[in-house]
């Protein structure tokens, strides 16, 4: 498909659309449910409650170190399901393409989506493609929705955090956000910066099995970073959060880039990390379980839930001083996911 690009015809529903579907989507994403190409996918009804989520992806650039927009779209939606304790079952895939997008780029993204689906065991079972005229979009926008199933008794929510609970972060902060920001600013850094995009559902299942009843809250700190997500947990639980700055894991190259650009890792997006609030007596077990996995190898205990300071996140600095950690405010951030 060298030198070829997306035409308005590819979204018309006619012959060109069908060709694109069979030569690209069915070829790479094939599975028995998708193969029928009917108007909707028909699924067997699983036992248990369902979790249902949707997210749209507009990241610029569409390819970046460590991933691409397709990977984000699969991982992001799987992770949103996992954060409620659900086992992801299947995804939908909606694409909005800009006329003139290189077909090679599209194929690269579809191949990447297919690889992520295989790796995570979560298939795309239904999809849609539209094309907008040149200048009305930006190469490609993706929407994925996902359905997951919750085992009996699972109740994971930011409301459930209790006083004295311990907060864990499954790895380093800011890798995705800083990778995109430095790409956009045209800055190349010594030391490799790479997005951390990855699915977290297996890590979540390990935690749920290993700590029956002990996991209160799971959240993935994407846009707005760890700072904003912790503020949401504090607000929803009616408790305060206390952090220790020296416990926060950050890669040296991410820290260096943050110094250069005047950014704080606490506010940078992550695409493959989770915050877990667990009961204090199970915190060490939670840390051990996380560190036994690839996803959580660099996990750390970063703080705890406290009473009396509802909705506030406070951090103790290395010198023993304190400051507030407020949520991200509407800064003119570039499109990072």
């Amino acid at each position: 498909m060298a030198d070829k690009c997306i035409l308005l015809d590819h979204g018309s529903g006619g012959l060109a659309s069908q060709e694109l579907i069979s030569s690209l989507f069915v070829k790479h994403l094939d599975n028995p449910t998708l193969r029928g190409l009917e108007d909707s996918a028909v699924l067997e009804r699983p036992a248990g409650r369902l979790a249902f989520t949707t997210d749209s992806y507009v990241v610029d650039p569409i390819f970046f170190p460590g991933g691409d927009i397709g990977m984000l779209a699969v991982h992001g939606t799987i992770n949103d399901l996992a954060m409620r304790g659900a086992q992801p079952l299947c995804l939908s895939l909606g694409l909005i393409l800009e006329e003139g997008m290189a077909l090679d780029d599209l194929e690269r993204i579809v191949v990447s989506i297919a690889a992520c689906c295989r790796d995570s065991g979560v298939p795309v079972v239904t999809g849609d493609t539209k094309v907008v005229p040149r200048g009305k979009g930006d190469k490609i926008f993706i929407n994925t929705s996902g359905i997951g199933v919750l085992a009996d008794g699972i109740d994971i929510s930011s409301k459930n955090a209790r006083e004295g609970d311990v907060i864990l972060l499954s790895g380093t902060m800011g890798d995705h956000g800083i990778t995109i920001m430095t790409r956009r600013a045209g800055i190349s850094m010594q030391g490799r910066l790479e997005s951390d995009t990855r699915p977290l559902h297996r890590l979540v299942q390990r935690l749920l099995e290993g700590l029956p009843g002990g996991v209160r809250t799971l959240r993935d700190p994407t846009r707005g970073g760890v700072a904003t997500t912790l503020n949401e947990i504090a607000a929803n639980s009616g408790l305060g959060v206390e952090l220790r700055e020296e416990f926060l894991p950050v890669r040296p190259q991410v820290r260096a880039a943050c110094e250069l650009l005047g950014l704080e890792p606490l506010y940078l997006a992550n695409e493959g990390k989770l915050l877990a609030v667990v009961s204090a007596d199970q915190a060490e077990t939670a840390l051990r379980i996380m560190r036994e996995t690839d996803e959580g190898a660099e996990a750390a205990i970063i703080g705890r839930m406290v009473g009396g300071k509802a909705g506030r996140v406070v951090i103790t600095t290395p010198l023993g001083g304190m400051r507030m950690v407020t949520p991200l405010h509407g800064e003119p951030l570039p499109r990072i996911c």
Binding site: R255, E259, P318, L319, G320, G321, R323, T326, G330
Partner: protein
């Protein structure tokens, strides 16, 4: 990470905190002039461990904050002109003028580009030959050399659709105004690190002598700041008023003479309006006649419209250190980082933004 970790080490910082407690032997008022210092002091938690008697006052050292409403209105009017594309640093995007912000202008179709360096604005001009790209020059001595270098680069590269709307300011004339103010009884100045890298630590000698005020040039890391506060407290305790340089790894006594020469080649001093401080003679920079082709004010015949400061906003007194943000009736309710009324809230280095973001009592 080298050059960072040794200045942030918790144990050495805690030892310095203990020493600071020992040397503050009388009430003292110290102004941190620079907005980056204000933010660093909050971020490190230094404000929460200050000994009794040591009062830190945040000064006017945030260039966005001291940009007058009249200049903001002129920026927005410029962005609205057909055929003009303005390039700005991100901080300026949401600063309110008297009728909306550049963000509002952008949403109604004005071409507003956020850049990381003036050179990016020049590249933008090269890519958009049909537009006149105007870089909005807001900044202190730290920013001006790169703007000067960009104008020289524009001339060398023969890029004629590039101009600068110069509103940069210089710090020393503003210090004079502050130190002349009878309301603001200061004992010491924590002098800016980046500005001093350009103008040199020697620039504060006349202030130390004339106003008998202790001056210490400070860096931005935890131990830099604590060491500088200790040096100031020792001077004040001993009744001394000298200039000391605690940031010698970046700042020399004479400053960056090459940058100074480049700035003098392109710019000349002029009177300019500061938000909060009013008109300060000789505190602004305008583009010299020789480089008028790159002067947006000349090319687009800009006149500065009269503009009212927002009602009830105390940014003026806050910039002078006379009020602190919590004394402003708008702080935290009508004026927040999400919906700022005054410039001290919108700039990431503004005093109100620092109090709102990090202040424990909020």
């Amino acid at each position: 990470m080298k050059y960072y970790d040794e200045y942030r080490d918790g144990a050495s910082a805690r030892a310095l905190v203990a020493e600071l407690r020992k040397v503050v032997t009388r009430p003292m008022r110290i102004m941190e002039v620079c907005g980056s210092h204000t933010m660093a002091i909050f971020r490190n938690g230094i404000r929460s461990i200050l000994p009794d008697g040591l009062e830190l006052i945040s000064g006017p050292g945030c260039p966005v904050c001291v940009t007058s409403a009249s200049h903001m209105d002129a920026f927005i009017a410029m962005a609205d002109r057909p055929g003009v594309r303005v390039a700005i640093f991100g901080d300026l995007f949401r600063v309110p003028g008297s009728r909306g912000s550049l963000a509002n202008a952008s949403s109604r179709g004005a071409k507003v580009d956020i850049v990381y360096s003036p050179i990016d604005a020049l590249d933008l001009a090269a890519r958009h030959p049909q537009d006149l790209v105007v870089f909005l020059g807001v900044g202190f001595e730290t920013t001006t050399p790169t703007i000067a270098a960009t104008i020289l680069a524009a001339r060398n590269r023969n890029i004629s659709n590039f101009a600068v709307f110069a509103t940069q300011k210089t710090v020393p004339p503003a210090l004079t105004v502050l130190l002349e103010d009878p309301e603001l009884q200061l004992n010491g100045l924590l002098c800016p690190g980046h500005v001093s890298a350009i103008i040199g630590a020697g620039a504060y000698i006349p202030f130390a002598e004339k106003y008998h005020i202790a001056c210490v040039v400070a860096g931005f890391e935890t131990t830099d700041l604590l060491t500088s506060l200790i040096m100031l407290a020792q001077q004040i305790g001993a009744g001394e008023a000298r200039v000391e340089n605690a940031y010698a790894r970046a700042v020399s006594w004479e400053g960056n003479t090459r940058a100074q020469q480049m700035v003098a080649e392109i710019f000349e001093p002029c009177d300019t309006q500061w938000r909060g401080l009013g008109l300060i003679p000789g505190s602004g920079l305008k583009i010299r006649e020789k480089y008028r082709d790159f002067d947006a004010e000349v090319r687009l015949h800009v006149t500065l419209p009269p503009a009212d400061e927002p009602k009830g906003c105390r940014c003026g007194d806050i910039l002078k250190g006379i009020s602190n943000p919590r004394q402003c009736p708008l702080f935290g309710n009508r004026c927040t980082p999400a919906s700022p009324v005054g410039p001290c809230m919108v700039s990431s280095e503004g005093t109100c933004a620092a109090f709102h973001k990090y202040g424990l009592e909020v």
